[in-house]
Symmetry: C2
Subunit: 228 residues, 2 copies
DNA sequence: CTCTGTGAACTCTTTCACAGCC
DNA sequence: GGCTGTGAAAGAGTTCACAGAG
């Protein structure tokens, strides 16, 4: 029984940082015609990384290229999809249907990439019962019941900060083990629950930091009157 | 002559990864009463990092604590604000006023953290001229003129993928050197322009990856019938 | 005694450079 | 010739553990 699926035999430990890039490669591939091959140089450029990095990343999944030629686009797409779990259909629940929530509902990344948005929740009684697309907004109080019923495995929190921890607790109680958190809060969850946070304020501050540093350097430079 | 301002004398090279956490510390501090001190253990816990990491991060900005006591909350807030450029007011332009764009306009992180949302743009003629809050939506064609006029230093791209590169080009032409990109595209810009990308699809796929891995492990475990 | 600041060890990630296959 | 896959080196970032200030 030595069928190599590429899922179980990963060679070395696949680094967390590489997973993020693999998803990027998969997206680039999806914009390509599904025929022929592509070499590491071209794919790396399109994905915004160096060729050596791409080859290393792919090597974690086994040998999927042909020396002297490149990577078969169809084959590589399959390998990546499988490694990233894009073959299964993950059911996603979204909590908090404000502007951000609606933006997420409209986000095309759900469709056709292994994700199915399968539940919406909000605490606002004015919103409960209304539809966004073809999905009904359910009451926050029903999270456990509805999520369990629909086999939700991924939760997205798009509520204000104050509600985020409570929502996380309830999602965990509903059996959700992966959470994407847009609220600017550090959530406490059991260690087997995986959280990813997207924090808009933080992203802005990173940019502000570099702006500040830039201004500082400009000042210093002009103080010295150097133009070299 | 050992005047340590903390701004110029950074000791060692401040790692990119640390900047992100510094912003997190600053946020935690802002939720605290502005009196007394806090020790690395407590602040680290609240920010979701280890105490040693917090101390190391702060040490990049110089010595801002008192041994045996902790960090003065007011003083540390000032140090962090200054280091992160939260003292200046950065003018931000948002391009693409769809659901995501509106969510960003409503985002409270702009106010009171050194950011001023100072321009909105959209290509849709139906949107141009309308107001969101007290800001008028201007035409995409006017980006260069308006951004230059209003001294915009940070641009946020919340358009569909197809438009993102074009918008980036125009922002760069308008003198913007820091861009936050929500479109799922790799943008090409001059090397002195700093880009941060927030990619919702990618975040979801990272979670999916770990879900897939989890499922795999469950299968393996149940195959062996082990419950220990 | 408490808690910071930091050299040193360690781990994780990237990059180089080239052997090996087409 | 061209391009992949990878050992080995370099570089970044994290954690330990303890000297030393209060």
């Amino acid at each position: 029984m030595s069928v190599q699926t590429g899922d179980e035999r990963d060679g070395r430990h696949l680094p967390e940082a590489a997973v993020e890039r693999l998803a990027g490669y998969l997206r680039v591939l999806s914009t390509l015609p599904p025929i022929g091959t592509i070499c590491s140089d071209d794919l790396a450029t399109a994905a915004g990384v160096k060729p050596a990095q791409l080859r290393r990343d792919l090597s974690y999944l086994g040998s999927n290229g042909t020396r002297g030629v490149g990577y078969d686009i169809v084959l590589l797409t399959q390998t990546l999809s499988s490694a990233l779990g894009a073959q299964q259909s993950h059911r996603v629940a979204l909590v908090g249907v404000g502007n951000l929530g609606r933006a997420l509902v409209g986000y095309s990344g759900f469709r056709g990439r292994g994700f199915k948005l399968a539940a919406l929740f909000d605490v606002d009684p004015h919103k409960v019962g209304r539809f966004v697309g073809d999905l009904r907004i359910d009451a926050g109080a029903d999270i456990v019941e509805v999520c369990t019923d629909r086999g939700i495995s991924i939760g997205v929190i798009a509520t204000p900060r104050e509600s985020a921890q409570g929502v996380a607790d309830v999602l965990v109680a509903a059996g959700v083990r992966s959470i994407l958190n847009f609220a600017p809060a550090v959530l406490e969850v059991p260690s087997d629950v995986r959280i990813r946070r997207v924090d808009l304020g933080l992203e802005l501050q990173m940019l502000a930091f570099h702006e500040a540093r830039r201004a500082e350097e400009t000042t210093r430079t002009s103080n010295r009157g150097s133009t070299s």
